[in-house]
Symmetry: C2
Subunit: 545 residues, 2 copies
Amino acid sequence: MRGLMMEDPLTLLPIFERVARYFPQQEIVTRRPDGTFSRTNYAAFSTRVRKLARVLADAGLAPGDRVATLLWNHAAHFEAFFAVPLAGGVLHPLNPRLHPDEIAWIARTGGDRFLIVDDTLWPTFDRFRESVPLDRVWQVPFAGHPAPACAVNYEAALNLAAADFVFPQLDERDAASMYFTSGTTGRPKGVVYSHRSLVLHGLAICLADCCGISRMDVVLPATPMFHANSWGLPHAAVIAGAKMVFPGSGATPADLLDLIEQEGVTLASGVPTIWLGVLEELRRNPSGWNFRAPVRLLVGGTAPPENLVRELDRFGLRILQAWGLTETSPLGTVSLLKPHMREWSEERQYEARSKQGYPVPLIQVRLAGAEGEAPWDGVTPGELEVRGPWVASAYYGAPESADRWTPDGWFRTGDVATIDSEGFVKIFDRTKDMIKSGGEWISSVDLENTLMAHPGVREAAVIAIHDPKWQERPLAIIVPREGARPSPEDLAALLATRFDKWQIPDGFIFVDELPRTSVGKIQKSHLREQFRDWRKDHPDPSPRK
Amino acid sequence: MRGLMMEDPLTLLPIFERVARYFPQQEIVTRRPDGTFSRTNYAAFSTRVRKLARVLADAGLAPGDRVATLLWNHAAHFEAFFAVPLAGGVLHPLNPRLHPDEIAWIARTGGDRFLIVDDTLWPTFDRFRESVPLDRVWQVPFAGHPAPACAVNYEAALNLAAADFVFPQLDERDAASMYFTSGTTGRPKGVVYSHRSLVLHGLAICLADCCGISRMDVVLPATPMFHANSWGLPHAAVIAGAKMVFPGSGATPADLLDLIEQEGVTLASGVPTIWLGVLEELRRNPSGWNFRAPVRLLVGGTAPPENLVRELDRFGLRILQAWGLTETSPLGTVSLLKPHMREWSEERQYEARSKQGYPVPLIQVRLAGAEGEAPWDGVTPGELEVRGPWVASAYYGAPESADRWTPDGWFRTGDVATIDSEGFVKIFDRTKDMIKSGGEWISSVDLENTLMAHPGVREAAVIAIHDPKWQERPLAIIVPREGARPSPEDLAALLATRFDKWQIPDGFIFVDELPRTSVGKIQKSHLREQFRDWRKDHPDPSPRK
């Protein structure tokens, strides 16, 4: 027996139509390259999205055609997030921080037919455009530069277009957008989101028990929109009718703090590195900013060190930790205290908040241990597996990657984690970043987080180096805080308070900065390569466990 | 091109599994008939739901079989809300307040095969059980009575059952539950919810911009669970992991206030009548209760008078008005102020809050006027039409009702409304309750709300009576407040401040109580019948407009 309910598909159309109808005056603010602001609202956004759809249709966009973007975080990118899928196309944001050859490979592999590019990114595009066959290119005058002859000025095209475009009827399982993973090893792989998955993921973000994004929020996506579905924030903001503040490109920590203060931001997203920079800035100038409302910081990518959580709390910036991957849209788990935890000590609450939390509704996780499912005891590690309606079921055109899914259809995340009896996931490490010393596993993440609690340490990365006797040994690469110079002995002593002797790195190397992937993650593969020949010059630590 | 995301269906299974796993200790409290409490939690709930599914399967439940309930609001009913659909059956709550012949007709029309009935409702069941062929009946010992020979004791059956039931794989469009409308005219009609519609509706209720139900909430469904999908609260509470407080049956306003105070309730649902009673109680005993947290009152069914909203605010009970019907699961619109309205005067804010609000995400509304779609000007009335993924597309086995849907698939609600430029819906009247006097429409709802602002009026109903000259004229039926005796002249004078003379009722009749439908709505059809022969004994009001 079937239900007798309407078959209205879960596409972006009803949420797009609703925001213009009920929240026309809510603002969309963009910080331009010169630091000035452009301001629009959802009424204008709605018209421009229809015009962009008309422009794409006139250019010959066929259902499923990929429209790539090479754009920073601004209102025009936001427009493309809706116009492309609503017109029946597939949005494909490209990452301008990758090597031009890699961008080209991704664009070709994704099958991109059209491109929208920032004027400020034209030089990047110029380095690979010969190797990607594109039917048409629109250039956004983000910094006010004129379009080259081989491109169409985005604003001019919109000015000429009619706003009467009627969006086609779509199936909720139609592709809406495509992102390539920014794996630290191996070729990037394409993840294809459907309208259905974007709508459900957007609703999940707006749940009171997730990010609780509401019409009263002012949302600042400080993570690049070309990364991991822009964390779903464009869709969530449109669902809620929230004001959007786009930081453009190259915003410094002080710029972000200015934006938060001046625009009344209540929720900002970013990887821990961004907030480490913000914290440094706040330390330098503790009374420099006054926030109108409490600010939630949605943090993912890697786990924030516990002391970052604590210190930002003091400034009224409350970190909400989430875990996810491009393959999970990305929202998988959120670290929200449960009712009974309100009675826990502050210490224990911070400990829980520094874990990655438990799955949002409709997402399921489990741990694949050495022998079947690992117990939820908070100590037994296993590979985290995940499933749900906004989790990828395959990579685009990559049948050789089928082993990333279990025979019963769960996605193997490549993250090694523990789950405690409350169901809180704690990411132990990436499988490939684990260090196996003398047959025992050492978590680089645990060592890094403890090192970063040292007042003289700004950032730390622990990698495995080859060891003839123990197979692998940990080596710590440290970025000291400005003016600080912690000694290896200090750091080893700090670690000794929480780790066994055999777990303590063989060496501590001080550097000015860490190599990063294009989305700001520490590039451990690069560090492993750089320190491949490093050898310790002191005796083995012993006794071993 | 299709998305490459997992096809995990939107069924109740993942949300059911999640609540037991992550919120096992959250309480489920039931007020028993004798005023004592029974307490369980989601861990026990999970086991009992599996056991109930096993009991149903052992009784021969086949996919799509209807399992009726004749139960008050308590934990066993909550169990059936999940066990029946998860086992592949269709939950069909029956309304014990209807005439036994009507209950029997609904059970036969719904095709009910099994029944779960409260011991305290056995006498009701006994009056119609001969006329409904049921394969098995379980009796819940809600008041501790033994089961009659022809029924199985619900608790005994669960005690004997294994908790190892494996739920079948379901399609998200499979029927999950069925409710008959409680129309004030005509035969009830069956609405069949799917797993998909229940999950989406439950998520919508948990959105920050709807009811925002979270794990920190304590939810009290004061509306009967056999009415309009229990307003979706059981599903929303399970999605969020919220504590549930069930009032059982026959809870007085003082009982409800006790429950709110003692159990820390933060969200309660109910029709305005319930909260009118609660307000009377608070007036009698203004310092009788202290609430731990702010309490949201989700109010629907009919519009609460503005002064009810104002007065409850003063006691820390904040009315959140929603509009919906059994056919809309029921959540359609919610009256939430928009960001710019925070700057409005208190007066204007209350005026907005006394409207029914704007649609929640994924729901769309429009107004069918005399000539096509009516403008959103706040004054032009039209019939409200609605669509969305949790709106009914047909009634069960009632092809003759196909005209309740427009040719383009919108549901005709039968509610006459205006929509203002902000998109706020204001229900003007039910189409059948409108009064047509001298060719002009008069809204009974507007007159009633103004009358209820009079300090001596507890409730008011305005109906149409036949008039030889004007076709119809309004007549007001008044329930005075205890000890008060407002005069017809007072009331007419009050109305004259807001209405034209021709809109003022021809008479004011004072009664002790108003007839109600089984779900607490004022039964205007009954009043129209009762006062059919009433004639005014004073001259025509004039001049007319």
